[in-house]
Structures are given as C-alpha cells and as structure tokens.
C-alpha cells in the first residue's frame, strides 16, 4: 500500500512555496522534510529514520555517513519508497522531488520515477543481478520499461551503456551472465543499469563496501566521472569517511535515525563540531600516523549504538559521548546552524563548541 504524507493535498503547493522562498536554494532538486520511517515489529516500534531533513541541489554530490543501523540506508530506500511494508512504513514528512511530493504519488506514478528520474545502486553487486538473465538483458529492461524501446534497439543502447562504464569489449559482455563477471564488473553493470535512463539523481548505497579496496577507488572515480558527464546529483551513502573526503561537496552525519551534523566536506574534516563526528574522524586510519607504525592503537568510539527500540532520553549519543553533560540526558538538542552552512545537533555548540 502506498504510504501517504500527513498533509494530503496541500503538500505539493507547500513544496513549491518553500522552493520559491529560498533564494539561495533555487535549484533544489530533492527536498526531504522531516522524514520519518518506522518499523513496526513484535519488539516494538523501531524509529529507523526519525525526522531527517536535507536538500540536494542539481548536480550536487552529497555524502551520508554513519554506522550500521543509523538509518542511512533506510532514508535512501524511503526516498524511492522501497521500504518493505510491512513491517516498515513512512509515517511522516515529505519527499519533494522537483516540487512533487513522492509520498503522494500512486504506485504507478512512483514506478515512473524509479530508474527514470531517481536511480539507486546497492551494496551487493554479487547478488544484485538476476543470475538467469544476461547483463545486457537486464540493462535493456530499463530502456524497454521507461523508453519503450524494442529489444534490438535496447540491446544496442545497453552496449553503449557498458562502454560508458568502461567495460572492455562491451559487445561480447552484453551477452554474458552475471556469474561470468567479477565483482567490480558487476558493480559497473549495476551503475550502467541505474544510469540507463539518465536519472537526475543517483543514490549509491555503500556501492563499494563489498568490493576489493583496489576496485573501490575505480568505482568511485567512475561514478564521479559519470556525474560530471551526465550532470546528475549523487547521494553517496557510506560508513567510510575516507571515501567521502575527496568525493562529495557536502556531508551529512547520521546517528540513530537522526542527522547530527551537516556541513561542507572541508569543514567536517577541518572543524568537526559534534563529538560523534570527532570520534569518527579519530577512528580513521591515516597515512604516516603513529598508528600505522604500530605504536598507538587506533581510537574507537566506546559503547554500541543504542537499540532503536529503546532510545535514551535526550540526546541519542549521550550514552557514548565523551563530553556528556547533565542536560544531554534530559533534552535533545536541535540541529542548529553553528557556522555558515555548518549544522550541528549538540548542546556544546551553543557555547561556542
């Protein structure tokens, strides 16, 4: 069943209004407002995404970083309304794509958005392709679906796509089956599939996690290259700050279903404000550090992510925060603009960080 936003009819109108009002954000492509995706299970309600808002500009590269279970994948899947229902449901918020609230579209309309305007690639290139269909057939499917092409024409276009993602001898590869390709190749095929209809947005959900380190860089480079070439926006979801550093323009850090910090990539690394972000950065391996030479242990963030069924009162990071105060356990801080375009959800930043 389609999940609908709270404000049924005024949604689209409102979206356009905010669109106009924001002079600086003229070219907002995707505007997610107060998105709430909950999972209703026997154990209770898991608030996997709890009031997430962000904007994506035309042609922008945005990174979403967080530990497993922080809601980064769920927020991405929610954008395309791919949350399995039951148990999941989008219970609130709006997802405005070019001013249209995706949560108010019918399933049929939504299918025209998926793959055509917003595409997604997944973590598991090994299993994200149907084993009994040729890779060409699977790419061709997107063309036949959204552009109504004939089989022959679609196959030819698939070959072009394979060429675009730098797969050698694409005319042969197009007739091969997924098991005949390596992991990196398969992820390239996935990218070709996702980009077949030239979407405006590509959501990449940990696209390199399952790949060899040497292949990771290739895939990321390819994605950025294609982003420039096709002028699309990318949402790169990852748990690896290292990947984020030289790829995206803006970073969102998520923790337990909420955004805790949002800033241009440069500021995140130069001046991280939230204790969680600082922890993440300190937990990164760096070339030439003492850690590398084995003298010092890599730092970690103590404790584990709180269960989504049983979140602490106040700030969700308070159970693990090294600089926790009494206030943090009572009341949850707001996401405030601390610096220019630098937002942080922490009581510390109120007193100047």
């Amino acid at each position: 069943m389609p999940t609908r936003g709270s404000g049924a009819l005024d949604g689209i109108a409102c979206g356009k209004e905010t669109h106009k009002c924001d002079a600086g954000m003229q070219d907002t492509l995707l505007n997610i407002e107060d998105l709430k995706t909950y999972f209703y299970t026997f154990e209770g309600v898991a608030r996997a995404v709890d009031g997430v808002s962000y904007r994506l500009r035309d042609g922008e590269a945005l990174g979403i970083v967080g530990e497993s279970g922080c809601g980064k994948s769920v927020s991405a899947l929610s954008t395309l309304r791919l949350i399995p229902d039951p148990p999941g449901r989008i219970v609130g918020g709006r997802i405005l794509f070019n001013g249209t609230n995706l949560l108010e579209l019918t399933n049929r309309q939504m299918r025209k958005i998926r793959g055509n305007h917003i595409s997604m690639i997944f973590q598991e290139p090994m299993t994200s392709l149907n084993p009994v269909l040729t890779v060409g057939g699977q790419i061709a499917e997107a063309f036949r679906l959204h552009q109504g092409l004939e089989r022959r024409e679609a196959t030819e276009k698939s070959i072009d796509m394979l060429r675009m993602v730098n797969i050698p001898s694409p005319a042969n590869r197009v007739h091969q089956y997924p098991h005949e390709l390596s992991g990196g190749m398969r992820q390239r095929v996935m990218i070709a599939m996702a980009l077949a209809c030239r979407p405006e947005i590509l959501i990449a959900d940990e696209p390199t996690t399952a790949l060899d380190v040497t292949i990771q860089a290739q895939i990321i480079d390819l994605m950025l290259e294609l982003k420039e070439q096709l002028g699309m926006a990318i949402v790169l979801i990852t748990h690896d700050l290292g990947i984020i550093a030289n790829t995206v323009e803006r970073v969102i850090i998520m923790y337990a279903g909420k955004i805790v910090e949002e800033a241009p990539t440069r500021s995140i690394f130069r001046k991280p404000l939230h204790p969680y972000t600082r922890g993440l950065i300190r937990a990164m391996l760096r070339l030439g550090s003492k850690i590398e030479s084995g003298r010092v242990r890599l730092e970690e963030i103590p404790g584990v992510v709180p269960s989504l069924y049983d979140l602490p009162p106040g700030c969700r990071f308070s159970t693990r925060c090294p600089r926790v105060m009494a206030m943090c356990r009572k009341e949850e801080p707001e996401l405030r603009e601390v610096d220019e375009r630098h937002f942080c959800r922490c009581w510390l930043t109120r007193h100047g960080g």
């Binding site: 793959g115 973590q123 994200s128 392709l129 007739h175 098991h179």
Partner: protein
C-alpha cells in the same frame, strides 16, 4: 556473441550432459512406443483368451498374460498412452494454476498470501486420491476429466512449492534492484521470479508425473478413472496385485514402466535445470 551461437550453446551444453541425453533417449523411446501402440502391439490389448491365463513371459507373449489371457506387452504399450497423457497433462494443468498462485501469494504477501496459503492448506488436508475422487465425482468419468481432476488435486502442492521458492527468491537483492529501476510487480514475477524458481519446479514436476500416474491408477480401481477394459499402467498394477505371488510380472512390468518413465523425465529435468541455470553450465 551472435544470437544463433548462443542458441547452439543450449544444445551443446545439453548434449554434453550424457545423463540427460540418456534420459531423453529413454523418454523418446517410451513416448514413441506408446504413440505407435496401434501399429506395433502384437495383440489386441482387450481381447480375452481364457485358454492362455497367467502365462509367464515368453517369446509369444513378451511380458506374459493376465487373468483374462490378455497380452501384457500390448497392454503396456496401450496403457502408456493413457498414463503418459494423464501424468504429463495433469501436471501441466496443475503447474499453470499452481505456479501462478504460488508466485502471486509468495511475492505479493499480505492478503494475497493468506488467500493462497489457506487455499493450499485446506485442500492439502485431503489425500490426493480423495481430492481427485471428489472432483471426478462432480465432473464425471472420462480421460480429459481425469486429467483435470488430478491437475486440480495437484495444484495446492505445486502452489505450495512455488510459493516457498518465491519467498526465498524475493528476498534477493536483484528483486530490490529491479524494483529500484521502476519495474512493476507483474514483470518482476514474470522475468525475475519465475525463471529463478523454474529449475526446482521442473525437477519436482517429474516427480509429480509419477504421482499423477499412480493416482490415476487408484481412481481407475474405484471405477472413476479409465473404464475397465482400457488399460492404463496404474490399473494394471492394481489388478495384478491379487496374483502377486503367482504372476508377479503382472504388477512388476507396469511398475517398471512407470519407474522408467519417471526416471527418464527426471534425468531430463535435471539436465534442463543445469542448462536453465547459467551458473551450473560447465565453463
């Protein structure tokens, strides 16, 4: 790679699978013998000859004779027509409905699944023969009606397997990936789910052919199946059971015929599954 080479590859892989070829040869022989029965059977399958009752296999009667002195070999050839038609026909019939129901219930889940699963549960609680009997009692006797009756009786079993396989396939990432490019449910069931559960269904399908042949025998025994003088393998086993100690060949030979048929179909299905699954195609 051009299209025709790929089609050639299909037969090439199949040909390399010697066991599947053996199955294919066996099945072709069995089917041909049954089709050609009117021309090649040495005796009339229903002509009685009281003087030559219970003759053991010999050169004049290759498989001996039964209690009415009818030539067992001719009856096997003629019986094969009925048994093969019932076996293959009813499974195909059951597949069409069972597979569509199973995939629909398994993939859509929710209300669809409740309806499909309860339907299966209710009808699975009847033994096959009783269920077939019930439907046959409504339809009345006749070869086509037997095929429909057994097909309907098999449907919940087929549907259950299809549903179970669908459940495991539907969780795989490529289904989610297909949804992410905007593929509709119907298309996903048709091009992503069906081909991936087909191998399993194919292999089980050959087993169900055997079941169908046996059920037909039981129905014939009660008098709701094929009318008595007309032979079918199942009814031949049944009628031979009384004389199992005196004339064991009367039950054993039709039993062997069923066994060989099912076995050959099974080998073919196994080979086909290996081809249908590109990963198992020997590189």
């Amino acid at each position: 790679m051009p299209e025709d080479i790929r089609k050639g590859l299909f037969f090439y892989t199949f040909r390399r699978n010697k066991i599947a070829i053996a199955g294919l040869v066996m099945a072709v022989v069995i089917v041909c013998l049954s089709i050609l029965a009117p021309w090649i059977s040495p005796y009339d399958p229903i002509e009685q000859d009281i003087k030559s009752q219970y003759l053991p296999p010999s050169l004049t009667h290759l498989c001996g004779t039964d209690g009415y002195g009818r030539d067992e070999f001719s009856r096997i050839l003629w019986g094969g027509r009925v048994s093969l038609m019932v076996g293959v026909g009813s499974v195909l019939f059951g597949m069409v409905f069972g597979v569509s129901m199973g995939i629909l219930g398994g993939y859509k889940g929710g209300k669809w699944d409740v309806v499909v699963s309860r339907f299966n549960d209710i009808f699975m609680s009847f033994p096959l023969v009783i269920f077939g009997l019930l439907i046959l009692a409504i339809l009345g006797p006749g070869l086509l009606k037997i095929i429909i009756a057994i097909g309907v009786a098999l449907t919940p079993r087929i549907s259950r397997l299809a549903r179970a396989s669908t459940l495991s396939v539907k969780e795989l990432p490529y289904i989610e990936a297909a949804r992410a490019v905007g593929q509709g449910d119907g298309k996903i069931m048709l091009i992503h789910v069906l081909p991936n559960i087909f191998g399993e269904l194919l292999v089980m399908g050959t087993m169900w052919i055997a079941t169908a042949i046996i059920v037909e025998a039981s129905l014939s025994f009660i008098g709701l199946g094929v009318r008595p003088p007309t032979p079918s393998w199942g009814s031949m086993i049944r009628s031979g059971l009384d004389q199992l100690t005196n004339a064991p060949w009367l039950s054993m030979i039709p039993g062997l015929a069923i066994f060989l048929t099912v076995f050959s179909f099974n080998l073919i299905a196994d080979g086909l599954r290996d081809i249908a699954d590109p990963r198992l195609r020997g590189a």
